[in-house]
């Protein structure tokens, strides 16, 4: 039985981001079907956002906008239709699939550590050779991969993210490189995705991975 008063007490902590993952999920589930609590939660979230306006308003670094738009542009590049592995148009894909299978079986010394965060999402830490980073998957199923230690590429090349569904790779666009040298890329839809892979590619390639990935993260 739902304790309505207990839920109402949690609305302010949830709005402030100060509730636990379990509490937040509890309130959100209830608010999905309770009009009054939904309305109060939304009002409180609006008030919490008001706190953001109470801090000194600083102009962002001018270069930040260019970085954001560059990242968006990289993500908005053509999302190629999925390419079945066996029908891969690039000859090296079978070898890539084999390499990924090995990696996913944990037969190489990658350090992949999974942990849950406090907001209904999870994190996967990745470390291999000089490359390290993490994948942050939020409660909505969107993922952001941040990696450091990846080699610099030619101007017409970039690190491309691939989502793997049923052995099929699909391009999720090219990553952006931050001022600190991190490679960052996000994807909004992980439904059915068994793994994420990163390959260095010519920016004209959105069909299928052409080389063995430098990073593979199993989501299984």
């Amino acid at each position: 039985m739902i304790d309505h008063e207990a839920i109402r007490e949690l609305i302010a902590p949830v709005a402030l981001g100060a509730a636990t993952e379990h509490e937040t999920a509890y309130v959100e589930r209830h608010a999905a079907s309770c009009h009054d609590c939904r309305a109060e939660l939304d009002i409180m979230r609006g008030a919490a956002a008001g706190l953001a306006l109470a801090v000194p308003q600083l102009d962002p670094p001018p270069a930040l906008k260019a970085r954001v738009m560059e990242a968006v542009h990289a993500q908005s590049r053509v999302h190629a239709p999925a390419v079945p592995v066996r029908r891969g148009r690039l000859l090296r894909w079978p070898a890539l699939a084999g390499a990924m299978a090995v990696l996913m079986l944990g037969l190489v010394s990658w350090n992949v550590a999974l942990q849950r965060d406090g907001s209904g999402g999870r994190q996967i830490a990745v470390a291999t050779g000089s490359v390290s980073g993490r994948v942050v998957i939020d409660a909505d199923g969107a993922a952001v991969m941040r990696l450091t230690g990846l080699a610099a590429l030619a101007p017409d090349e970039g690190y491309e993210l691939w989502t793997i569904r049923d052995g099929t790779a699909r391009s999720e666009g090219f990553a952006a490189r931050t001022a600190q040298g991190e490679v960052v890329i996000a994807t909004a839809d992980l439904a059915g995705v068994s793994a994420l892979a990163i390959t260095p590619e010519k920016r004209s390639n959105t069909l299928a991975p052409s080389v063995t990935p430098v990073v593979v993260v199993s989501l299984a």
Binding site: P13, L16, A49, V55, P60, K65, M69, Q75, S119
Partner: protein, 196 residues
């Protein structure tokens, strides 16, 4: 900017309409959204993380999330600005809780006040130093004990359980102070600023 040609002046559109266009791949519409909300997003990120580089990364990541999630935005969940700020705040708190800013959190704990950003240049330092005063002015009639928990929660990234422990007050009291404090903030706000 590569993409579709748009003859309509995107700057004249409401945020919600811009998001619809962004969800359809309209980078110009998204750029207008950044122009409108990038400053407050940056200010919040910088305030919470206290480091320029980390704040830049966070804002970039948050706006990427906005771009990727534009189709999932629902106006019933508040204004676009509230939504964007929620994404920024949510991710910043994640960072705080991951321990990257443990030192600053400890300082916040010790001073039970807003985090003082570790600004990299004189202008930022000067602006940051007035932060507490500005927050105080904007929240002038919020009782101190309510302001205290709002600051610890929103700017410090602490859970209500942690706040109850550090202040040695019952959990119910913390939740009550949060609710009363937020309610006071809501009444002080210009509804046009964040929507609800």
């Amino acid at each position: 900017m590569v993409g579709r040609r748009h003859t309509e002046d995107r700057t004249r559109l409401a945020d919600e309409d811009l998001l619809v266009h962004a969800a359809d791949g309209d980078e110009r519409a998204f750029e207008v959204l950044y122009d409108r909300h990038g400053k407050v997003a940056w200010s919040l990120a910088f305030r919470l993380l206290g480091e320029r580089g980390a704040a830049e990364d966070l804002v970039q990541e948050a706006f990427l999330a906005v771009w990727n999630g534009a189709a999932r935005y629902a106006s019933t969940k508040g204004s676009v600005r509230t939504w964007i700020l929620s994404i920024v705040h949510h991710r910043a708190v994640d960072r705080l809780r991951q321990g990257a800013a443990n030192k600053r959190r400890q300082e916040a704990l010790e001073h039970v006040a807003a985090i003082e950003p570790d600004a990299p240049d004189a202008a930022d330092v000067a602006l940051a130093r007035v932060a507490a005063d500005e927050v105080q002015a904007a929240l002038h009639d919020v009782p101190d004990e309510q302001l205290q928990v709002l600051r610890l929660a929103y700017f410090g990234g602490y859970t209500h359980h942690e706040i109850a422990d550090m202040l040695s007050v019952p959990l119910g009291t913390v939740k009550s102070r949060m609710r009363l404090g937020l309610d006071r903030v809501r009444r002080n706000l210009d509804p046009g600023l964040v929507g609800a």
